[in-house]
């Protein structure tokens, strides 16, 4: 079944740790996106990709980085996590040229 997956669903880590949030999709989509969702629930685009080897920064500045080596995989990395990174991270994907984005279940990150 075509879907979009995120792991882990929940992560609690200490300050200074390096983490990678995984996002994979089996929907055959070219475009992928990362959103950060505040505790106040606003969503902000932090990264997106048009396809393999393409990565762009979103509207909200983020200390995270992304890579797109395979079409179906779009991981997000934080080199040194801080409490300010505590948030919900949502991954999404869409067909090239299409407006509709489909979302994964999200990763809730807590940095102590």
């Amino acid at each position: 079944e075509a879907d979009i997956y995120q792991t882990p669903r929940y992560l609690v880590i200490g300050t200074g740790k390096k983490i990678t949030l995984e996002c994979s999709q089996t929907m055959g989509h070219d475009k992928m996106y990362w959103y950060q969702q505040d505790p106040g629930m606003e969503l902000h685009l932090i990264h997106y990709s048009y396809g393999v080897n393409s990565t762009e920064k979103g509207d909200l500045s983020s200390e995270s980085t992304v890579s797109r080596i395979r079409t179906e995989h779009f991981p997000l990395t934080l080199e040194s996590a801080r409490p300010s990174h505590t948030s919900q991270y949502l991954c999404a994907s869409s067909h090239a040229g299409a407006a509709t984005q489909y979302f994964g279940p999200g990763t809730r990150l807590t940095v102590l």
């Binding site: 606003e42 949502l90 407006a99 509709t100």
Partner: protein, 115 residues
């Protein structure tokens, strides 16, 4: 810049009744889409309905329909025969084709359904 405004932080509806959630947007695009997404307590964003701006007919998906007023830049969501499972955060979003198909989201409306 593209903006989306949801002026109702919280709404409440009796089960089986109808409720309308408001959304206004501001865009300079001529070709765009509008969306309503639902985010239940599980936190996954689920597409509820979408509207293509060039279509005059309002989109409908089962109990969900929109009232799209292009000149007024208004895009409200009507939920008919509300069910307990409709309780969630609802986000309105506009699409910007000229910026890589990015979505701009409103701040959300929390809908409670009273049994």
């Amino acid at each position: 810049a593209q903006t989306v405004t949801q002026s109702q932080p919280e709404m409440s509806v009796q089960e089986a009744e109808t409720v309308t959630l408001s959304c206004t947007y501001d865009t300079s695009e001529s070709d765009y889409y509008l969306f309503w997404y639902k985010q239940p307590p599980s936190r996954q964003m689920i597409l509820v309905i979408r509207q293509e701006a060039y279509k005059q007919q309002n989109a409908t998906e089962n109990r969900f329909s929109v009232n799209f007023q292009k000149a007024a830049k208004s895009f409200s969501l009507k939920i008919s025969d509300s069910q307990l499972g409709d309780a969630a955060m609802y986000f309105c979003a506009s699409h910007k084709k000229s910026s890589g198909d990015k979505l701009t989201f409103g701040t959300g409306t929390r809908l409670a359904v009273r049994p």
